[in-house]
Symmetry: D2
Subunit: 320 residues, 4 copies
């Protein structure tokens, strides 16, 4: 009706502002943040976007590099490299699709990790084992072939002869179960076992349901507070942990509020409502109904099991 | 803005029509269907509504009786009695709240079952054990104290001396796992074991997130096709099974489409959009994004465990 | 010392008698019964033994055919064919070992099932899902690709075009959980869905710990009362169910009493004790300590998961 | 026959020697070690034994205090206090039995912990979550009400007003899953979070099947290498962790070798065999058959669930 291209753009910028208003990042994916900008071809200063599509495997890899503070401010994410692997077949139950995805994940972990040969790495599976969509991290840890204890027992000659990595792993649990921040548990373990690299695995929240169980984000920035399924954790990055940190995340839920808000915003923008009206209505909706609810596919138990296996395989390929 | 009482009413009636358009019942709760009517005080012909509120226990019991075909048509549900127990504390983790709710559930099962003393009853826990919010039925069955085999072994004198019921139980699984309708499995078992009463337990879909894990519906109409978490099952009622059937259901999910549609409709009605615009927009939204997604609270794994225990206790009270 | 060939033989025959004395079959494997006879080369009337060893795959297949009642009496097992596949690598975690075993299992199921093409088959996963070593049957069912419902929906042309079988599956539970014999549940379902063949999957008790998770027994005799992990179930065979029945079993436990008794017997035989002394001592031992205990490997949870997957694959190969 | 009191005693001392020969402690219970001494009334120098029996609750409490190195050498256990609560009803499914046992456990934890009010305590649930009888520790942790994070957020005033403890908890996993010793993980976490007391929870191996799931051992000596279900862990005690350590253990398995050996020894002793003969035969038996097997009751999955809940309740009573 009253909608036109111009108001539409206004709406979109209101949307970004609103993200801050609500103090809640609606997505953990740098790629989705990038997409909220009006036009994919517009260049954001300090941010580089590179894309690659393998048609045969139906795997798309996007690399967002946030080069400087200006880019970090625009994106609302720390400086660093964010690699996003989009593989719609990751959610398929046909296991033959998973091998190429495993290789792709392993390739990009190596790209960020530098030389992985024999490197002492600690894998941390974040999240709550008892909450299905949050159990990705713990389930990945369950499937790893850890080797650190073997090398400590049999020595470095043994390690070399068997071309073995040096991998340890832990599921630090969530604060409501342990009374400790994941960052405290990990800092303690790192202090004791001195790995050269930490890889944190976590279930993420996405903005679009299309991303659920189809997208892998790998970044050298670690994890910032407030990420994950609505939990407040302290940061897990080089600064807080004192070693290099790679974060690997897969979106397994969309916040129910997000899905409602996004649909409404799209509609209201199309109809030409002004920013204030949108904000107010959405605020009322959220107050009223859908706090602490999330949207997830019906087969989430099965998906988490399968995807965690794929991620474990990739890590085993790099470090076992 | 342009909204007024009249258009508002139009919207609401469009909503009901639309339910049929999409061929998808958005709620399995008779009470929620009743609530979609414009005004709670309006009398629907053929439908009786009775309410009871126990302030101390914070338990509200609503009884909807659909007396004739006219009422059935208006409600889109078969004739019969629908008892809805609303107990917000059912979702609390404090176990002391659960005992009064157990008693309340047992009381209304008995009201519909008639004389329960020593009655041969088969409990059927519908749903998919591997899908958390759909596992309510199987988990209820896991907690029952079945006695049928004891009575067959030790005789009716033993039964009377121990004031024992005669309960058997089965989780018939879902069609995707068994290749059989739950109705086929149950018909077979009923043919072989000849219970006098079947009670089917099922996870339901609600329309409002407030109902999730707080509401118990007990009805003597059994279960009609399309109920539950979006699965197509054939009817489970006296006609199809050949014995009395009571269905006990608890809403554990809201369809993601429902939550979006309801919020949008509310908004559009408020704004005075006409029926056709609403229909078209919502149709587009559904096509686009959120098929096969559901909304569920974050602690659903834990809730299902606790609530299934409460329901089992109520059944044990009646029949064990 | 005092042991000699003669007393030794006496001991062995006492052993067989004792099996009856205690009324407890110590093994569900026909092959192990056959082995209790003094000398593998001795011919038992009415019983044929054939062996095959594939050195490359390290798989040994023994076929025991009990041809007549005399053989059945000698063996304490019903007439029929018992195929035992011994594959030590079945318990290995290396998945590459499992494919050849899958093929072998499928081959012998087909040998007993006759023409499997498009055959209506019902798989029954016996046992208690909540007791790890008894969960083999239910876990096999969880991994099957059932098709019966698809064929009912899309017709036989669809079936032929996709070279599809007609498989349904059920976990009937155990009597303590359902109040019904597995045989009652299955008879009911068979009456309703009319399969041409039933395959029952069950965890067995073996006599030797070497057999645990390494041996598959496939027989066309079904299952007789008292088999499995000490549960009393009524027979599941052609006579009781009214259709052809194949039983596939894998030993997952040894009764604790068995392991103690066997070791003691071996020792006492070696020492030349007479039958009566042995019987009396073993009787005392059993009374005293180890009722209702079983022996199982430490990694049983993991083994059951892996082996059930292998069996499911074999069944999918035959019937999906 | 040839057995007499003298040979019998010889046998027993051979048994103790043999324990060292095989390098495998057959029991983790100080009480069972104490029982291997010929006669309960004989005083072992440096070891004090005190017993208490509550007939109403059917709970027996034995306290073994190893006062000096002489006692430690005789017992093969470190100096300290070992409290053993024997409660046959702990394995019952009737929940009403569990409340008095909870109180008893809480009482003796407090006895060893000294002042528990507001004390910063870290609970460590040792063992492998994926191996049922070894999952006691992780399951105890799952049921705790941790509070440390609340106090850090809301301060000590909040803590005092709510009479709240200061409890944190972790399941450090097993070396095969993490590549790290439990002691390394705990040392790291202790370094970071500085608790005043660590309580380690672990599944133990007993010698007698009567002790399974009926006995709780609480000791201020922590855990020594080689305890638990056959895993080699480094010590968890005040010396290795740098803070006070209480260990709470419940026997959930008997090594299969132990049950066979004990029965054989009893028999051979009765028959008057000499030490060397016994040793040799048992050595052969162990080589041959039953490595890495354990004996466990059939309902172990259910028992672990229930008992872990009871232990959690006791800890919550002391520290939540």
């Amino acid at each position: 009706m009253k909608a036109n291209k111009d108001t539409n753009n206004q709406e979109d910028s209101s949307l970004k502002k609103q993200d801050k208003t609500f103090g809640m990042p609606r997505t953990d994916l740098a790629l989705e943040v990038r997409e909220t900008f009006e036009d994919d071809n517009v260049e954001i200063q300090g941010v580089i976007l590179k894309e690659d599509y393998d048609k045969d495997k139906d795997i798309r890899v996007s690399t967002v590099v946030i080069k400087d503070q200006r880019g970090a401010d625009a994106m609302g994410k720390p400086m660093g490299t964010y690699i996003t692997i989009e593989a719609p077949k990751l959610k398929e139950s046909d296991e033959s699709y998973h091998e190429p995805i495993t290789s792709e994940i392993a390739k990009y972990i190596k790209e960020l990790a530098g030389d992985t040969k024999g490197k002492e790495v600690l894998i941390a599976g974040l999240g709550n084992r008892e909450v299905t969509p949050d159990a990705l991290g713990p389930q990945v840890v369950d499937n790893l072939f850890v080797t650190r204890h073997l090398i400590r027992e049999f020595g470095s000659e043994f390690q070399e002869r068997h071309h073995m990595g040096n991998m340890s792993a832990i599921s630090p649990g969530v604060m409501g179960q342990t009374g400790m921040e994941a960052s405290e548990v990990l800092r303690g373990i790192i202090h004791e076992t001195m790995p050269k690299l930490v890889i944190v695995i976590d279930a993420l929240a996405a903005r679009s349901v299309h991303r659920l169980n189809t997208t892998v984000q790998i970044t050298d920035t670690g994890i910032s507070p407030g990420s994950g399924v609505g939990n407040n954790r302290k940061a897990l990055n080089k600064e807080s942990l004192g070693v290099d940190v790679i974060a690997l995340g897969i979106p397994t839920v969309v916040d129910a509020a997000t899905i409602v808000n996004d649909t409404l915003e799209r509609f209201m923008a199309k109809q030409g409502f002004d920013e204030k009206q949108v904000d107010q209505f959405i605020h009322e909706v959220n107050e009223e109904t859908i706090g602490n609810m999330f949207v997830t596919p019906k087969n989430i138990d099965e998906s988490i099991k399968r995807i965690s296996y794929t991620v474990s395989e990739a890590l085993n390929k790099c470090f076992a």
